[in-house]
């Protein structure tokens, strides 16, 4: 009987095509996350992210209403009210975002100064406490074959394990450079931070948190929040968006405070500092000049990156203009202007791209 001219029946290629299609969909998803700023809703940092994409169903003439659909929910591909759900590792998503925005990895300082020590079982020895059964058996089998104890052709399948065949796993001290980062977020609470302004700021802060966590590892990053009106204070993350005051504005104190915290509480030689300021930029001329001096003299030398973002600035906004006179196209100090959510991608690129 002639066989069919196929050895086995497989859908591997079609499965591959489907997976590629899903990856393309995920690229689109990344674009929508960046445009819509929905990164906060996709899951915890460092965990797996559950993403939903529209299920692919071939439409046809059929009975029913638009609202029809549904089915059992569950992780993995499957129908759930017209959606397919996938578990995507956080790193996978961030890598795609980085690729989409062409963001470089952040340059880390402090290499070799702080070491993270771990023990890995990389070597093996004839003495020890943790027996490596696989290696031991391999050696015992070789010995048994050599000693003609194991002779399958004669029906003898004995394997003798001698003391010298034993192999133990030996822990080895491994030192890896540990990078630490501290991120300072500075917010102006004297201007009317609510509604659209608050949303824009929140989205941007959310992305910065994800991006730096992704680069350093969530455990190695400390996020600290500061607000100012005429005076500066440190607050909890949740209060960063909540507190508000309709008084006068002096921004220099918050830069002072951040600089002092950075130098007094951390070792500038081993810590990577990042600072991001959000406000409408409507400051007194003297205040802005003081900030420029602070940036130049005390902050720029020890910070990896400082971002100043004017969120929906007005006609009187002058902070970025003043800073730009001194730090135009600077590699450390980056200036951005965020008027609506579609500009978020450009601001992110400005803050993190290499120059």
């Amino acid at each position: 009987m002639p066989l069919l001219d196929t050895d086995n029946i497989s859908s591997n290629e079609s499965e591959g095509a489907f997976n590629e299609f899903i990856e393309d969909q995920l690229e689109n998803l990344v674009d929508s996350i960046l445009t819509e700023g929905d990164l906060t809703s996709v899951g915890d940092r460092g965990s797996e992210v559950i993403v939903e994409i529209d299920d692919i169903v071939a439409p046809t003439f059929t009975y029913g209403d638009e609202s029809e659909g549904g089915g059992a929910a569950g992780a993995g591909p499957g129908r759930d009210g017209g959606k397919i759900r996938f578990n995507v590792p956080f790193e996978f998503l961030m890598e795609r975002i980085a690729r989409s925005l062409r963001l470089p990895n952040l340059r880390k300082q402090g290499r070799g100064k702080i070491k993270e020590v771990t023990h890995e079982f990389k070597t093996f020895a004839p003495v020890g406490t943790v027996l490596d059964k696989k290696r031991t058996f391999k050696r015992a089998l070789k010995t048994s074959i050599g000693m003609r104890v194991y002779r399958p052709e004669e029906g003898r399948h004995e394997v003798h394990i001698h003391r010298r065949d034993r192999r133990y796993k030996v822990p080895e001290r491994v030192e890896k450079p540990k990078f630490k980062a501290v991120v300072f977020y500075m917010g102006d609470i004297s201007f009317s931070t609510y509604g659209e302004r608050l949303k824009l700021e929140k989205r941007l802060v959310g992305f910065i948190q994800h991006w730096i966590d992704f680069n350093y590892g969530a455990k190695n990053v400390e996020h600290r929040f500061f607000v100012h009106d005429a005076d500066a204070h440190e607050v909890q993350e949740e209060d960063f968006y909540r507190v508000g005051n309709a008084g006068g504005t002096l921004a220099a104190p918050v830069y002072h405070l951040v600089q002092q915290v950075a130098t007094n509480e951390y070792d500038p030689n081993t810590t990577n500092f990042y600072a991001f300021y959000f406000g409408d930029g409507e400051l007194f001329d003297e205040d802005a000049k003081e900030i420029v001096e602070l940036l130049e003299g005390q902050m720029r030398p020890i910070f990896n990156r400082i971002g100043i973002v004017e969120v929906q600035p007005g006609r009187l906004s002058l902070l970025n203009r003043q800073v730009a006179t001194q730090f135009h196209r600077d590699s450390i100090i980056r200036l951005g202007e965020l008027n609506d959510r579609l500009e978020a991608i450009e601001v992110i690129k400005t803050l993190f791209s290499e120059r």
Partner: protein
């Protein structure tokens, strides 16, 4: 995937099964059996029971979903058998089955293969699987020629229109479309030749004819013009619609403007899905026939001790033939029991004019006449002449519906479905039985619509070259949000404007623009009438 010939035990069982099938004088094509593992089985099912298929995301999606369901325990990975009938037929066995189960699967396949050979819809074709494999190669070539993006786009559009394949419809291509070249006639169980008997042999006198059959000159003129229009359309386009066409995908395959690559894809998809219509129309007879021969052959195998485990077999058999309510009909159970009942009727001579004309009830009750030929020959004749609709219409009586428990519901289910107490004729602690009278009607209704909207092509030159579809209203609305994407996909295949009339709405898709217009509602009968008169079926 390996042939059963590589396994001596399976090769022996195959030989015994075929031996008994031949002893029973069955009409069989060449049958080739292969053994598959679970993943191969899953893949085979997603490929439409063919060993190869072109790369496409839909198969990939279904496969990923199926694997996920199997891993999550939502679906069993145990598939007993699948068969692609034709000559040769290819049957696939699951490697995890016991020898007894493999034998029963082979015996079952015997029934399917014979049914495919004999049936009125002429399902069996030469080298079907080989032909599909040839088409797959053509589509793979087309994929390279079209480029990945357009290939996917075109496939997606086709996927959307696959439910519109209806080769055995009353309004199939052969009945709806006139073409210049003679096409292979598609037969159906209701097929009646439309060729009118020729009067060429009768003595002809045009003068006498004109006197005896006086014709209105206007009518004669109309007739002449219609004939001329038909000829002109045929010579210009190569086809002319003379009745609504329900085989929409088939029509597009033959008459849509396509490149060679696109044609390859349409050919493959149409041929791959073509048999689905046959399965829908013959499932009860087909599965019943397969169970009937499976049991007969298996009893022979048990008798000669070629296999053992008759108790296990009986358990599996009764599980497969478990009665289900009529709307969730179990074709194995209904078909098997109906065939046995019919065999009984024939063996007692009860399917005869004398029996029906007998007025004495006691004579009817004790009726026993030797039939003219073996009952099995009559049964085979039935396969050659009818499909499920006629099979059920002729033989399924209310008494049998009750006897086969087609009207039986679990109490819980009856409560959930809010069955009226008036319709319940019998009940016990576990079940209730409905009045069997309306059940048959409900079951037969399935064959008019198959639970799908009936959509037809009624004009191929609507508003200058547009393709006009008509949804035959049966009281249910079309899913509205899918009309636009479906028309868009149709537009990609037709490469011109497309329209759909559903109730009092005209939907159109042309130049990437979707429009909805309120129109006067049109009945299907009116459409038919106008098309018979060579008029435009629908005018704005």
């Amino acid at each position: 995937m390996r042939s059963v010939h590589q396994d001596p035990e399976l090769a022996f069982l195959e030989e015994r099964v075929l031996h008994h099938a031949n002893t029973f004088r069955r009409t069989l094509p060449e049958m080739r059996f292969f053994v598959l593992d679970s993943t191969e089985f899953m893949s085979l099912l997603e490929k439409g029971v063919y060993p190869t298929s072109p790369v496409n995301i839909w198969e990939g999606k279904r496969m990923v979903g199926r694997k996920h369901r199997v891993e999550a325990g939502q679906e069993s990975a145990i598939y007993y058998e699948v068969v692609q009938t034709g000559n040769p037929s290819y049957a696939y066995l699951n490697h995890t089955n016991s020898p007894m189960m493999q034998a029963s699967v082979m015996a079952h396949v015997v029934g399917h293969c014979e049914f495919s050979e004999l049936n009125v819809l002429r399902d069996s074709t030469r080298d079907r699987t080989e032909f599909i494999m040839h088409l797959v190669k053509k589509v793979e070539l087309a994929r390279q020629q079209m480029g990945e993006v357009y290939y996917s786009q075109y496939w997606n559009a086709c996927e959307s229109l696959l439910p519109l394949i209806a080769p055995h419809s009353q309004y199939n291509l052969a009945r709806s479309v006139d073409t210049e070249s003679p096409v292979l006639k598609q037969e159906t169980d209701t097929y009646v030749s439309e060729e009118r008997s020729s009067a060429a042999l009768m003595p002809v006198s045009s003068t006498m004819d004109a006197l005896l059959h006086q014709q209105d000159p206007d009518q004669a003129w109309q007739k002449e013009m219609q004939s001329k229009l038909r000829q002109e359309t045929l010579s210009r386009k190569g086809y002319k619609l003379r009745a609504p066409c329900q085989d929409i995908f088939g029509f597009l395959r033959n008459h849509a403007p396509t490149s060679r690559s696109e044609k390859s894809m349409l050919d493959y998809l149409y041929t791959r899905h073509f048999t689905h219509d046959f399965i829908l129309r013959t499932q009860v007879m087909n599965e019943g026939w397969a169970m009937y021969w499976e049991k007969k052959i298996m009893l022979e195998l048990f008798k000669e001790k070629a296999v053992s485990g008759i108790i296990d077999y009986a358990r599996v058999f009764s599980g497969v033939c478990y009665p289900r309510p009529y709307f969730a009909r179990n074709p194995y159970h209904l078909g098997f029991n109906l065939w046995n009942h019919i065999e009984q009727l024939y063996s007692e001579g009860k399917i005869s004019l004398e029996y029906f004309e007998e007025t004495d009830q006691s004579a009817k009750d004790n009726w026993k006449r030797t039939p003219g030929k073996e009952p099995i020959h009559y049964m085979a004749d039935l396969i050659r002449t009818v499909t499920d609709y006629e099979f059920l219409r002729r033989f399924l009586t209310p008494e049998l519906i009750h006897e086969f428990h087609l009207n039986r519901f679990h109490r819980m289910e009856a409560q959930r479905l809010r069955l009226s107490p008036d319709s319940i004729v019998k009940e016990d602690r576990q079940y209730v039985w409905l009045d069997p009278e309306p059940v048959k009607e409900e079951m037969l209704n399935f064959f008019t619509h198959f639970h799908r909207p009936r959509v037809y092509i009624i004009d191929t030159d609507f508003q200058d070259g547009g393709l006009l579809l008509f949804h035959r209203d049966d009281g249910r609305r079309l899913r509205k949000d899918w009309i636009k994407p479906t028309l868009k996909n149709l537009n990609l295949l037709w490469k011109g404007p497309v329209y759909l009339v559903s109730r009092n709405w005209l939907y159109s898709f042309s130049a990437n623009l979707f429009k909805e217009t309120v129109v006067t509602e049109l009945r299907f009968e009116k459409v038919l009438e106008r098309m018979q008169r060579y008029e435009k079926p629908f005018k704005m």
